[in-house]
Symmetry: C2
Subunit: 271 residues, 2 copies
């Protein structure tokens, strides 16, 4: 059974895992150095533990302990119990869902391992927005995408906000991060994946007319600039989602990356 430890000092060093959760730069280095991530809310904490992630500690208000008692019974980590004001003072914002866990990261597989056995995968190039990454994982999981490969600079799926927006889907879809942006797509091609680059360019092949082989990787680019020209050139096919002619004339001719990813994942899985 996890041990309940009352705390009241926001500067208590035992709470160092939880400081300033909205300070992206601080969190990046803190979480990398300690190999941890933060799970927020009962549902996400349960999903993290169920998928084999070991908690380092918990931080929550007293009233949040009981609903998680069955889980806390099974883990060996301190449960820091504090009032809402203390939690807010540590985390730097009002934690609505009330329960936080600091969780050990598992070693990521390499790209070849993550995609072994998968037929339909996503490759994300340099997405910078954590909510977008989380939303795309949620789509990927729900629609049946079997693995996700991240470019070296893509935002972290285990950042608190990514996890939350994904509803825990980041724990359900295997993923890996390329170490080499230049050569990274080569690994996928060697594994037999056809590389489909999604582009807003309407001269590309409409998604539902794309030739999709046994194994296919759909490449999605960053929010502002889309895929890099290098990756566009390396693709086997450039595919697009057809835009309405009226929209093109009106200048409202683009989808956000999550909407585009949803349509493309659905199309890819049913191709």
């Amino acid at each position: 059974m996890a041990q309940l430890v009352p705390v009241s000092d926001p500067d208590d060093p035992r709470l160092a895992d939880y400081v300033r959760l909205r300070d992206v730069n601080l969190r990046k280095s803190l979480e990398a150095e300690h190999g941890l991530f933060i799970a927020e809310g009962e549902k996400v904490i349960r999903r993290a533990v169920r998928t084999g992630h070991a908690p380092r500690s918990f931080l929550m208000a007293r009233r949040r302990v009981e609903p998680l008692a069955d889980l806390l019974d099974t883990v060996d980590a301190p449960v820091y119990v504090a009032d809402d004001a203390t939690v807010e003072a540590v985390a730097g914002f009002q934690v609505h869902r009330g329960a936080l866990a600091s969780v050990h990261r598992l070693p990521l597989p390499d790209v070849a391992e993550a995609v072994a056995g998968a037929r339909r995968i996503l490759v994300l190039e340099d997405l910078v927005d954590h909510a977008n990454v989380g939303s795309i994982f949620r789509c990927a999981a729900a629609l049946g995408i079997e693995a996700v490969v991240l470019s070296p600079r893509c935002a972290d799926p285990l950042y608190r906000r990514s996890i939350k927006v994904s509803m825990g889907a980041v724990f359900a879809v295997p993923y890996a991060r390329m170490t080499d942006w230049r050569g990274g797509l080569g690994t996928l091609r060697e594994a037999g994946f056809a590389l489909l680059a999604l582009t807003p360019d309407q001269s590309a092949v409409p998604l539902d007319q794309a030739k999709v082989d046994d194994r296919a990787a759909l490449m999605l680019g960053s929010e502002g600039d889309g895929l890099s020209s290098r990756w566009l050139e390396e693709a086997d096919q450039r595919v697009c989602i057809p835009m309405s002619p009226a929209a093109m004339a009106n200048g409202v001719d683009s989808l956000n990356v999550v909407a585009a990813a949803a349509i493309a994942c659905h199309g890819l899985v049913h191709a």
Copy 2:
């Protein structure tokens, strides 16, 4: 030419249109009473004016005037010029895009007018999140949905955040609001629309096997509860987006409403 009026007092009554832009309740009543909405950022302001909306006034930092000079030349409304701190003090947050306009609302068409001539429309029931409404309008415009019908309690597409997230697509797609939730779908049926209810229920007809007639209305429900049972029963067909069996087993078996709307709009337009 619009007249430049320097202002420096956040309590200046001439700036009353712009107060506390993030206070949803205040803004709802203020904007309804005065028949206005707020456009934020050069691109959105241009799109609003281009689609026939008359500005009441503008509020911006001095450096934002020049890029909009051509537009300001053509309108007859005061341009209040203030420093960033004053704008922030009025609006209640730091206005990154720097230019605000208070704009007269146009009278909304009634439902029959809004859908006249359209073959593919959306019907939104009680969506409460302004960003979701904006995102769905963006999808609708880009993919070729020709009109949107809102339930009486659906969030306002002309709320500042809806407009911003839609990238101005709320000005490009005709929409109307039902006055009567109970009888509202009757108007659409009389106009010859087949009513398709999107549901997560996997026993419904998969979207790409739906029978879609000449005129079709896709109904989307609210973020949490989906469509009301009354509307589900009134539909001609219940349709679903097929979820991956693995996702169902893992409990990561749902899409957010924007992702679902994107897939469904794409499917409907290409059916």
